[in-house]
Symmetry: C2
Subunit: 328 residues, 2 copies
């Protein structure tokens, strides 16, 4: 019996999740819900219906897990609690500072409904969180560092697009090799934001736009750019389409810590990702999490969970016996 | 209330576990059991008694978790089922091929006694197993590679020591950079044992020993060395003590896989360890696992478990709330 999955929101992440579901024999896409006109959506999976989101409640018995593929800024804070009252849900809510509030809202809704709501699973939060928790549990005396990139930050790209005269923009977050290597060597350096990452911006402007002003506005933008060394390169729309169509990303979580009676032995734990497609990889994490949520629900669990609450074996389609024999 | 831990076996691993317990405020070492004369052991932790192993059954109510720190070849296959009938136990059984049998024996004993027996937790099996299972769940179409080292292999060092005329030996397993880099680039090369690792041997011989014969015997030893490029360097006992006293180790688990409808996007997941002290790091994993086992036991679980069955949060001393707010 396959896990019947539906997707709400058919943007980059929704399409990535669709592709991931197709790569797992025990998972099955049964519906896509959209806030747009359903007839305007063309899915890649043959035979799967697209519905207006209003229709979701009627289909609750035909869906084991609903993947919420909207954005963290405005969609998920509303959608995840709302749908956790009807479905087992999985989201990739990634506003780290607001996770406790989001957890509380989803927990209340899911508990009342006897459902499981898994939040904040992708790669950060998600896989990177796992790396931080395992490393911290094993090396209680140590220091964590996370480097992101080289990859496209959608938030920073959007921030540039809001500047007057900008038609399109792509921002790459780039870890600085010297900083990464110092952390890898276990030196536990104190690093500023500027010492850890560069920000590379590629910008398409409207005809006659004041490029000097745009560059200045980018480089001085508070929080997004002012604490970093930022490069701005103006390119044509053709160059943007040709050279910057992908959404690569990745990064590394490192912990260096000590053991021994005098802290005389150093250890470094590193978890790294190099991703050609951020939305397809995140969608792949959501798909594995949907499998786990379905199992947790069948075992009678309810309420809000995170990936830190899931036994690793639950994410895999393989049996415990098979995992012990071949992957342990 | 601290988790009361006892250690059985006070070799390198037992001492590493003792040092790790001292670094965790919620864990407490309450006894060490030995098959040697207890009066011959001097612990580092003040006030902790050393008992003959025969005394363990009498102390079962004073111990929450027993760490079994013997060897995988002959100790653990007997000890872990035996003690799982009386205690919650944790071992680092690392003979991958025999894990299913070991699991079955421990499961039967622990279930009958209402205890939890956690087997095969260290870094491989253990942390590396986690990396393999997570990566495989997220990227079902892909290829795993594990590289070990640079580090001391105790098994290979012991094998050299059994050769006539050898007084002492240290064998370093060394990953070959070109192979590691090809895997990191996602090329999924087919690699032989020889292409992945070198074996570096440092050997102290008895006066007048036939070094040419010893070198030949090492390099042609089936399974241990014959499938590898091996270097043999003869050194003095003083050089051995000065340059090779440590037990460093480490390695990398990599999975490269694809997503997208045509498999057009490549992704590489890497988990790496760089360890100054293999036994202290392994002991640190055992300590974190003891915490999780105690919690699983209090929640009513029984039987044999592996690290693949443990929700990650259970390994941490921090609350779920704290983890969500700061590490997720």
């Amino acid at each position: 019996m396959k896990t019947r999955i539906a997707i709400l929101g058919y943007g980059n992440l929704g399409r990535g999740a669709e592709a991931a579901i197709a790569r797992n024999d025990d998972l099955e896409l049964v519906a896509v819900f959209t806030r747009r006109d359903p007839s305007a959506l063309k899915l890649r999976t043959p035979g799967v219906p697209v519905y207006s989101v209003e229709k979701a409640p009627e289909l609750r018995d035909a869906i084991d897990v609903l993947l919420l593929c909207g954005g963290s800024a405005t969609d998920l804070p509303v959608q995840t609690p709302e749908y956790a009252a009807m479905f087992n849900v999985v989201d990739s809510f990634d506003t780290h500072a607001k996770i406790p509030d989001h957890f509380a809202a989803v927990d209340a809704a899911a508990r009342a409904a006897g459902k499981v709501g898994l939040i904040s699973c992708g790669w950060d939060p998600g896989m990177f969180s796992l790396a931080r928790v395992y490393a911290g549990a094993v090396l209680p005396q140590g220091k964590d560092e996370t480097f992101w990139g080289r990859g496209v930050s959608q938030g920073h790209s959007d921030a540039i697009r809001r500047i007057e005269g900008v038609l399109d923009a792509r921002q790459y977050t780039v870890p600085i090799p010297a900083a990464l290597e110092a952390v890898r060597r276990g030196e536990q350096p104190e690093l500023t934001a500027r010492q850890k990452h560069l920000r590379e911006c590629y910008v398409v402007t409207a005809d006659g736009a004041d490029k000097a002003r745009i560059e200045r506005e980018i480089k001085t933008m508070p929080y997004y750019f002012d604490e970093y060394d930022t490069t701005v390169t103006f390119i044509s729309a053709e160059e943007m389409a040709r050279d910057h169509a992908g959404l690569p990303h990745g990064g590394s979580v490192l912990r260096s810590g000590v053991t021994g009676w005098e802290g005389e032995h150093k250890h470094t734990i590193e978890f790294s990702l190099k991703l050609d497609s951020n939305p397809e990889f995140t969608g792949s994490v959501l798909a594995a999490c949907a499998r786990a949520v379905h199992r947790m629900y069948r075992e009678g669990m309810t309420g809000c969970k995170t990936i830190l609450d899931i036994p690793p074996a639950y994410l895999s389609p393989r049996t415990g016996e098979d995992l012990r024999a071949h992957l342990l």
